[in-house]
Structure formats: C-alpha cells, structure tokens
C-alpha cells in the first residue's frame, strides 16, 4: 500500500456500513429487552455473536487460500450487487418512491409483536429468538462488509476496526439515550454506504479483470466522485419527472 487512501476509505466504508447494520440490530435487541426482559435479549444477542465468531473463524482463513485477482473479482462483483442495491434504494427514498426507514417504527412493530406473544408459555424463548435472529442477520451483513471492503486489498484488520468502532459507538449512544436510535440519519448513511460500496465494487472488479487504474488507489476517489455526481444527477433529473413528483 503506497498511501493512506485505501486505509481511510476502507475504515470509513466499513464503519458507515456496519453502523447502519448495528443500529438495526440494536433496535430489535432493545425492543426485546424493554418489552420482555434483558435476559432473553442479551442471551439471544450473545449466542448470535458466538455463531458469527465461529463462522469467521471457519471461513476467514479460507480467504487466504484464494488467489488475490480471483478474490478481487468475486468480492468486487458481490460488492457491485450489494452496493447498487443500497444506492438504488437510497435514491428511491430520496425521491419519495419508497418509504424512509424509521427505527422508531421498527421498534414499535417489534414491541407490539412481542407483547402479542406475552401470554405464550414460550415468550422468553421467542423473545430471545427475535434478538438472536436480528443480531445474526445484521451481523452476517457486517461480516460481509468487513470481508468485502478489506479482503481484496489485505486490509481486513482495518475494516474490522471500522466495524468494531461502529459497534462500540452504537452501544455507547444506546446506553446513554436508552431508546431507538431514531435520530441517527440512517438514510443519509445508507446513501453514503451505497456510493462507497458501489465504488469499491467497480474498482475491484476492474482490478480483477486486470485493469491498472490511473493513479492506482487514488482512482477509488475519482470513481466515488463520478458515482456520487451521477447519483445526484439522477435524483435531480427524476425530481422533475411527474411520476416522481406525485410520489413525493
């Protein structure tokens, strides 16, 4: 690595992407803890973290066996699919075509579902399962983000630190405010993450097919700028579209 660019962009992408996922998992665990009790909430979350750790320990070393160009290509393709999905959704949210994600609403929905199950004998088990599922599913996405943004350039450690920072920050904010993190500008974060993941995907897929980008790692910043400007232009153009106006 000849500059700080890949390290900073890897840590930032991993941090922002993981932050969004941890907020979503935190909302469900908080709903379980508040509605039922903290025992099933924390047990479910801890079990999910243990499963995630085992998955990382099993599959992590396998990555080292894959040739770097193949890894860049495969991870790049997955990142394009992953990032374009986030970007498309973020643009559609900006246009008012699909609803904004609302942590307050997610918290209320989960709370109502848990209250409806409160007479069930297995209420604690079901509550723990809800926490387990939330942490496992969002955790899998965090693991993928860490491997994807870090693995193709041998920066998994930095990507892991970005994810860990996101986890610690969400926990600290959560402990301080003790309510769903509805004030976090999640949709703005998702837009930024979509832009970053798509840019990483194009950069690595390009490297995977043998492209030597001008400026090497600095090309990542140029790709990010082009994708950002294009997304902004799409939003500007679509805002003038009568169908999009009607949706707003």
């Amino acid at each position: 690595m000849n500059s700080l660019t890949p390290i900073l962009s890897t840590v930032t992408a991993s941090f922002l992407g993981s932050f969004v996922e941890v907020v979503e998992a935190f909302t469900i665990v908080l709903a379980v803890g508040v509605t039922r009790s903290w025992r099933p909430a924390l047990t479910g979350a801890a079990l999910a973290l243990a499963v995630l750790a085992v998955l990382v320990l099993i599959f992590g070393p396998l990555l080292a066996l894959i040739p770097i160009e193949t890894l860049q290509f495969v991870v790049g393709v997955l990142l394009i699919l992953f990032g374009m999905r986030w970007l498309r959704k973020a643009i559609l949210r900006s246009l008012g075509v699909i609803a904004l994600h609302d942590e307050e609403a997610a918290f209320s929905k989960e709370t109502a579902a848990l209250q409806a199950q409160s007479t069930d004998r297995r209420a604690d088990y079901l509550a723990g399962l809800a926490a387990f599922k939330a942490v496992l599913l969002e955790g899998v996405e965090v693991v993928f983000i860490v491997i994807a943004v870090g693995g193709a350039h041998g920066l998994t450690l930095y990507a892991g630190l970005g994810a860990l920072a996101a986890f610690v920050l969400v926990m600290l904010i959560g402990l301080l405010v003790h309510r769903p993190l509805s004030t976090v500008p999640e949709n703005t974060l998702k837009f930024a993450v979509g832009l970053m993941l798509t840019s990483f995907g194009i950069f690595w897929t390009g490297e995977g097919i043998g492209a030597h980008w001008p400026g090497e790692d600095l090309a990542l910043i140029a790709i990010f700028a082009i994708v950002s400007l294009a997304s902004y232009a799409i939003i500007r153009a679509m805002r003038g579209n009568p169908t999009a106006k009607a949706a707003q």
Partner: protein, 68 residues
Amino acid sequence: MTVLRIALSELVGMFIDDGSLATLCLILILVIAGAVEFLALPPLAGGLLLLIGCLAILLYSVRRAVKR
C-alpha cells in the same frame, strides 16, 4: 430449520432486491470480463465500461421503479 431458511433468504436478499438490477449488473460484468479475456479488450477500457454501464443500469432501474 426456519432460522436457517430465513438466514439464507436474507443472505440472498443482501445482493438481490430488484431482480432486473442484479441480472443486468451480472450480464454487464460477464460481457466485459469475456471481452477482456477473449476479444483483447484492454482491461482499463473494460473497467471504464463497467463504471459507465453500472451508472446506466442504475438510471434505468430508478426510472423503471419511478414509473411503476
């Protein structure tokens, strides 16, 4: 089994939301990779085509969703 099934569908859902977006991206990547490998397209040109193609697919997919 239910948890496993949910986990698998979530895993697929991480990459595929709008089927046509994912399909078009995969076709674009395969065509460019094939052109670099078998038609001697310069890899950098392939990378630039990938960038332009992804943005075109994004525009098409957003326009399609807005019209719906």
